[in-house]
Symmetry: C2
Subunit: 333 residues, 2 copies
């Protein structure tokens, strides 16, 4: 088993006299990525480009084949069945192209043990409802020295699942604030995480935390440590609420028979997130329901107030409401 | 008075043997722009670059001075006082820099008559609440041959004001679906209208309509004729509702103490319009209140349903709602 990536000098390979310009495949170590969707696939691309050897699992054989053909990944494995989070959920959300290879779960896990033995770090980039099952499976098939992290949009349930699976010492929860409404390997691209905030949650996993911080720094992101409770409350407002608003507006315009091509650039901005993956988001919203609900209630109150002001043709009240929003938005892009 | 721009060959000047490459200032005719904000200023830039001579009025002397220094405009005039839509509302929304030059309204109008006599076309790019007063003033100070158009976000009240001012024969209502949350001359830029839909409303003004269509075609936009009632209902959903949603979300996040820097790219998209000009939008929303109100009620219903589904942790119902929105959004950008 190779050692975890060193937290120092994470962005550049040690220069080698014979090949000083380019990192060589594998000279930074080996990582395994489970789920080659927008996030996992983009991370695989970035890491491969920076000298990591990347192994991958995905329910979608086409995504694996394409990633291999492009030289992004050098090996694949199957994620074994493990309760509710079984291999059928390990997918890149590529939609119609998704399919399962015929296999025996037992032999799949045996081969996965062999393949994963080479990885110092495993990145779980599956839908949040799938991740707990994958963590239970990883607890069985990886050595105790393997560091495990994830990229899910919620952290409380995943930290709890990691602890329950006995992974507290070597699991670091992660959530990159990157990506967009697109999904699947086809949307994965290099430099997706450049300057992106990444939230990290660690129970008592200091060495593992350093390795995962180094990983994100290496791909240009800005990792910060946060408590899982604080994280989930924060993203309920900063991420889950905007998603709900954009989708609700999209559905409202759909029901009104209004084609998206009728919108100007501003309206297209507001409705862009409506194109996000429905199943992935339903998972996130249910997992975070207790803190999403009050955020949505606050927005409903605000919209109800605006509705009344517009009905009343109250220019002063509307101006004040819009001015508060504008002060908040400032000149941000 | 020069003739209106010809509807044929609107995008290119007639080649001149001695200067075949560049349009010469004024060789396409002279237009007057009232309000050098994002829309009026961008249109002035485009028209000047395409060989029109551009005259301008704006409450903000700095905007006029900058436009003149850049060679975008070759003359200025003051809009005279005319009831509720007096000159104090003729502004580029440049905020703190706005100021009024000391002047006598009478002498201002006299000089305006002279300056405007050179313009075959006047473009009123003021806030919608200001436009009716400007139209009444223009009816007094411009010759009957002068074509007048506007760029306001609502059309019923403006068409009615034009008719009441006796301008039905020579007024064409216009609404470019371009621009963004920014405002003022500082945000004005060339090619803002490239490929943008532009709605045009004309009472019984066929020759004027052809001239205004040619104007928008010349700057790369896609003009379509629409009934004013249909227009206002359409934009209530396609433009005014997205603005309200973005502002309501911005204010909700403000009240929750959440800085915009905490948002990812998707959340920044949804809240971008929250940076729009509050007074300009309050004007629009009140003017269009009768059709904005039901659109906002429909969105409230949809959000209320989603709120209940999230409270109930109803994965199937949430997925179905998000899927309807995604089908609508498609793969649009």
């Amino acid at each position: 088993v190779t050692q975890p990536a060193q937290p120092t000098q994470p962005t550049r390979p040690t220069p080698q006299p014979q090949q000083p310009q380019q990192p060589q495949p594998g000279d930074k170590g080996t990582v395994a990525v489970i789920g080659l969707g927008l996030i996992g696939g983009s991370l695989a691309r970035d890491l491969a480009a920076r000298g990591w050897r990347v192994l991958a699992a995905d329910r979608d054989g086409h995504a694996l084949a394409e990633a291999a053909a492009e030289g992004v990944i050098t090996g694949t494995f199957h994620v074994g069945a493990e309760g509710p989070g079984d291999a059928s959920g390990v997918q890149s959300h590529s939609g119609a192209q998704a399919h399962s290879s015929a296999r025996s779960p037992a032999s799949g896990s045996e081969r996965a043990v062999e393949v994963l033995a080479a990885a110092s770090l495993v990145i779980v980039a599956t839908p949040v409802g799938t991740t707990p099952g994958v963590l239970r499976w990883l607890a069985r098939v990886t050595p105790n020295s393997t560091i495990i992290t994830d990229t899910g949009s919620t952290k409380r349930s995943i930290m709890a699942a990691a602890a329950a699976a006995g992974l507290a010492q070597r699991f670091v929860g992660g959530h990159p604030m990157a990506g967009d409404h697109r999904s699947g390997w086809g949307a994965a691209r290099e430099d997706l995480f450049m300057d992106a905030p990444v939230w990290l949650c660690a129970a008592r996993a200091a060495p593992a935390l350093a390795a995962v911080q180094a990983l994100w720094l290496a791909v240009g992101a800005r990792p910060s440590v946060i408590d899982a409770d604080d994280h989930d409350r924060l993203v309920a407002w900063s991420s889950h609420l905007p998603q709900l608003v954009s989708s609700a507006l999209g559905r409202t315009l759909h029901d009104a028979g209004l084609d998206r091509s009728r919108l100007g650039p501003g309206g297209r901005d507001v409705t862009r997130l409506a194109g996000s993956d429905p199943a992935m988001w339903a998972d996130i919203l249910v997992d975070n329901a207790d803190v999403v609900t009050p955020a949505l209630a606050a927005l409903l109150n605000e919209l109800t107030r605006l509705h009344r002001h517009v009905m009343d043709r109250d220019v002063a009240a509307i101006t004040a409401a819009l001015a508060a929003a504008r002060d908040w938005a400032g000149s941000a892009t």
